[in-house]
Amino acid sequence: MRKFGLSQFAMLAPAQGMLLLVIALPSLYVFWLSFTESSYGTSPVFVGWENYAAIWNDRYFWRALVNTLVVINIIVYGELVLAFVIALVFVKGVPFRRVLLAMVLTPYAISEVVAIVIWKFMLDPNVGSLAKAMLAVGLPEISWATNPVHGLGLVSVISIWLHLPFTFIIIYSAMLAVPKELYESAIVDGATRWQSFRFITLPGILPAVFVALIFRYIFAFRLFSEVWLLTAGGPARTTEVLSIYLYKQSFTYASFGKGAATGWVMVLVSGVFAAIYLRLLYRRGFQRDA
């Protein structure tokens, strides 16, 4: 191939430059900030591990961490199960495939803010149709503002609603990519429907499913807007997740050091998921490509 030179370097500069200036350098600066204390209008003073010790001893930090881990697991596996069922139906062939597909993809285009508007309205105890329908079949009222379990539960539902299109598309495409001949020869060999699912479909889609799963872990971990707009972490800080905790430490309580320390904890946790994800990608031939 051709030789990489100065002009190729220049072509990479806009993309790499933005990533470096907007994400990489600020993240390193956060690392430095996490060992200092500062607030609005004061310059950073080095304090060593104090910020990390402070959040370690803060029960609100632990609550936020546990909430995050519980909620992202519900989101990621909830999506996976739903996406799987829908993909199975679609792969068998559905009428008006394009129209149905467009409808399944709709939530992808909806902003978190509008999603909150929609779900708050549907579940409003006084006016919501869904709330009334649930009441009619004996289900309890969803009091997201006062009951933390309801609050985080609804956050999970809204988040699944928003991101199901992504997970669905990945699994559906993986199912479509399984060669048809495999099913045909399985039928010839007298395999039952369950056997061809178990020994052809499942192994065929598993690698893609696993990558999608890790990818969704990384992105679900960022969860902010749904919680902020629905409960803002309340009542009494019971529904905070890590990014809400970070936001409040930094901007509400104006302790930049503790906010930065929380930020680095988040970088490390998502770094673990990212490492798994990147390893999987490399195995799938990323190395050969680039």
């Binding site: 990489f4 907007v22 939530p107 285009a109 803010v113 549907m122 495409s173 680039a290």
Partner: protein
Amino acid sequence: MRESAPGIALRAAVIALVLAWSAAPVFLVVLSSFKPTPEIFVYPPALVFAPTLEHYRTLFEKWPDFIWTLRNSAVIALSATLLMVFSSVLAGYVYSRYRGTALAGSAFFMVAIRLLPPIVITLPLYPVADFLKLSDSYTLLIVLYATFFVSLGSMILKTFIDGIPDELDQAATIDGATELQVLWRIIVPLSAPGMVAASVFVFVYAWNEYLFAFIFTTTRAKTAPVVISEMMGSLTGVDWGLLFAAASVQLVPVVLFVVLVQKYLIAGLTSGSVKG
């Protein structure tokens, strides 16, 4: 394949549930925005009613700056898309046509760095934006949005450019074309579908984004999602009709866009995450 009656019924039920789950809530909001206020609260929701534009009228009377923030959203989303596509075509071209250890390393950096949680960088960017007089500006949001999607864009464009035969480049070079001419005359026109695929993601993201817009804008560069969240919070006894009108104006264009470019979206989703 032949199928039993219960099997067909089961699949039909799943499809009905899927539609009720994914599309019905959005449909309900748009429909309700045209209902007279008392009709909004009728249970079960009526499909037939005398449509009215009263909520849209109230929206533009009570929130005159809403139309302004829509304009902000449009300018920011389109500019971020342009910036991202421009950078991604260049990077995608280099990653497609050149090889080397340093290059592989920089591609790895590109994929890895975008996995960092965006909220982490709000803290250091806040004072920097202030210092550079960029807080509450279009520029800041445009650059932020383009940056978070330039990795995906470059990988999508690389995949599409890989599909353009290298012989075309070579033939043009023999005819005396410079590399920039090759890029402009061959790569750019032939990778147009890839550019559309890449644009879908950054445009939808930038149009809908809340976190950065909420933290970095106050008045001038405020976007539509931020104003809608304010409408939700500031109203005592929520005016649902007004909220639905605002939500509909915000969501209808982007939903139509996604439906139109559906096949690019699907191609990009799979190539951008599962294939790296």
